[in-house]
């Protein structure tokens, strides 16, 4: 189970960063993970 949990970002960074992505997937069940490998595979 430990491997499922990515290093959690600490709450409320003082230096908030901004990340841009073409596709943002929110959620990590079967739907989220399957969506996650589909775009990369097809492009």
């Amino acid at each position: 189970m430990r491997r499922l949990i990515e290093m959690r970002k600490p709450k409320g960074h003082h230096m908030a960063e901004t990340r841009h992505t073409k596709v943002l997937i929110i959620g990590s069940g079967p739907a989220g993970y399957t969506a996650a490998f589909m775009p990369a595979v097809r492009c």
Partner: protein, 286 residues
């Protein structure tokens, strides 16, 4: 490359991390839920997806690029968003229910029913979920007591008919669960105490399993005020697609599916969402 970013949310791996054997995943006659999710995560990483341990607390869908705010303070902007936040089983909120979760108390007959072969169990609820779970559990249990606080079910008539004809199921009307009773060593359920809603009389029913089947709630907090919903809060998508009421926002899995709710159907919808998002981006960003 689309280089997607996946933000895991509060429960990495979703509901499957709280189940044991998954017996209907194609290609695996039996796989543990957490193991399956680790494999899927590894697959996503191997294909170039960045997976981030953060919790999205706000999603601004008013203009593109969409803006999501993480609990960490990180701001994520995206040309398209796939919502896959899932759903959560509803629980009664009893301390004893919490104490025996995973040790005789479950909210998923499909996941855990197999463990109660030849044993007596109880199901709590009176809607479609409860009746379907009770019927399914008769494949394993010697007896299923359906505990409901009214004297009639909310389930569809056809389900009620099947339930009433099943000799293994005994409805117990006008009762509600008061306490799950069990042992600590080894930890497990031994009985439930139920209360008659009119007389207050307490009855103890011996059982090894308690299935709480009072429904599921979609995890729609991010979008419940901006997206079109249906069937009690599930995100509505166009038929045959994952397109929501806002172009560029897609929804997949239990967040939108109130019918099937299986890992394999969720994965299928995740695939559809990715293809829908790609098509959307190709049409709008060319």
């Amino acid at each position: 490359m689309l280089n997607p970013i996946l933000v895991q949310g509060i429960e990495p791996g979703g509901q499957l991390t709280t189940t044991t054997e998954v017996e209907n995943w194609p290609g695996d006659s039996e796989v543990q839920g957490p193991d399956l999710m680790i494999r899927m995560q590894d697959h996503a990483k191997a294909m170039g997806c960045e997976i981030i341990g953060d919790i999205i607390t706000n999603l601004d869908t008013s203009k593109r690029p969409f803006t999501a705010t993480g609990d960490s303070g990180t701001i994520y902007t995206a040309d398209a968003v796939i919502l896959a936040t899932g759903a959560r089983a509803k629980w009664l909120g009893l301390p004893s229910e919490e104490a025996f979760k995973g040790f005789g108390v479950s909210a998923c007959a499909t996941c855990d029913g197999f463990f109660y072969r030849g044993q007596e169990i109880v199901v709590i609820g009176g809607g479609n979920t409860a009746v379907e779970e009770a019927l399914f559990l008769t494949n394993f249990a010697s007896k299923v007591t359906l505990i409901h606080r009214r004297d009639e079910l909310r389930a569809e008539k056809i389900l009620q008919d099947r339930l009433m004809k099943n000799p293994k199921i005994e409805p117990l009307w006008f009762h509600q669960l008061e306490e799950v009773v069990g042992e600590d060593n080894p930890k497990g359920v031994e009985a439930v105490r139920v209360k008659h809603v009119e007389t207050g009389e307490i009855t103890e029913i011996p059982c090894k399993g308690v299935f709480v089947a009072i429904g599921h709630a979609p995890a729609n907090e991010l979008v419940k005020d901006v997206l079109e919903l249906h069937n009690g809060g599930y995100v509505k998508v166009e038929a045959g697609s994952t397109r929501t009421s806002i172009p560029g926002i897609f929804a997949a899995g239990d967040l939108t599916d109130h019918v099937y709710r299986q890992a394999v159907t969720s994965a299928g919808m995740g695939c559809m969402a990715a293809l829908d998002a790609e098509k959307f981006l190709a049409e709008h960003d060319a």
